[in-house]
Symmetry: C2
Subunit: 242 residues, 2 copies
Amino acid sequence: MSRETLETRLRQIGKERYHDRHPFHHKLHSGQCTADQVRAWVINRWAYQAAIPMKDAAFMSRCTDPDIRREWRSRIEDHDGGADNGGGIRRWLKLADAVGLDPDYVASGQGVLPATQFAVDAYVHYVREKPLLQAVASSLTELFAPKIHEQRIEGLLAHYDFANSDSLSYFRKRLTEAPKDVAFGLNWVLDHADTPEKEDMACAALIFKTNVLWAQLDALWVAYVEPGRIPPDAWTPGDGMK
Amino acid sequence: MSRETLETRLRQIGKERYHDRHPFHHKLHSGQCTADQVRAWVINRWAYQAAIPMKDAAFMSRCTDPDIRREWRSRIEDHDGGADNGGGIRRWLKLADAVGLDPDYVASGQGVLPATQFAVDAYVHYVREKPLLQAVASSLTELFAPKIHEQRIEGLLAHYDFANSDSLSYFRKRLTEAPKDVAFGLNWVLDHADTPEKEDMACAALIFKTNVLWAQLDALWVAYVEPGRIPPDAWTPGDGMK
């Protein structure tokens, strides 16, 4: 199989399984979410954002090649940023603030759905434990991220009062960060998946990752959309407001 | 127990157990090592240097606090550096080159003594698995590093032809890097070891780390000093020369 064929397979996984297809995103981007549903999304997605630098550090802790570590390091820098201005994580808290939540409450991780946290933790563990090829391939959902970020920026700006260039700065910034990261990751996977077995492994890793993202939105749906059955200790509307 | 008492205990551990007391270092710094003993040291200590950024990434992968991650990130930057100039790891390879070794051979990790690699791996696993307090405390051998680096620079310059400001740049750079890192680590440990049990844990972690360093020099001694019994597949004088 050629590099092109594997890339086509990977992109097909995105077409079929990326969370831009999830009904929660359709609802969110088309202005159909209530303010509390948006808040629930912001709170839960925080758990994912906050774990990304830990996931990337877990990857680097297994990388014996300084060249790869150097390449990967910028991901942590993008998310954590400097002490003064912060990075992607702090930009996410601007969104929290804009939707009326107390950023400190969101940053505490309180109220996150257990199923969300399990999915996020599964991702960190996967990257820490699986073969490096799969650790890298699991990051390739970023191939599909710019499209959903563009849709999100457009949809939120059109439909919600809280949306402006400041509150949405996280997504705007990812439009340039994600393609840079994924160019390296994709190339590395295409270089290293040089047997049919490894190609299948790379695809399985990407499928795993799409499941991590999808499961988070399913958890959000059952808790806050329908039937709207909020598990014990999970965020309840009214909590954590600024 | 006060912060001062714990700091005194930690410093006492260094006085009793840090590898500046190991006979191999006395031999090295006083000009009594043969060229091949110096090479064996350079090759084996490479395994330790090369693992340090992985150890630091393992720590970051467990850190939920962006502030701590931001602080810790500079350690990886110090060791890996940028693609053009590299960092501490590449400076170590200058030393390898200066003692007549092929830097690519050294960087391959071939010829490293199994006991060295076990000690290094034990350190990475410790930082990945133990309570955060112990992961941080295990880095506090840096309290004692500037002194040994100064002794080393002085001793090597005085006794060996390969020693000059370029080949010893790794050690020179650590004179400013280590105190910056350890100031944060020590303060964090003193803040967080707030029960007698935790104070004991912090001390145990530092003792563990001094053992990691000591074991590497013992392995070097038995293989290359006395009796000089080189294990199968470990570096043999003449191998890996440039």
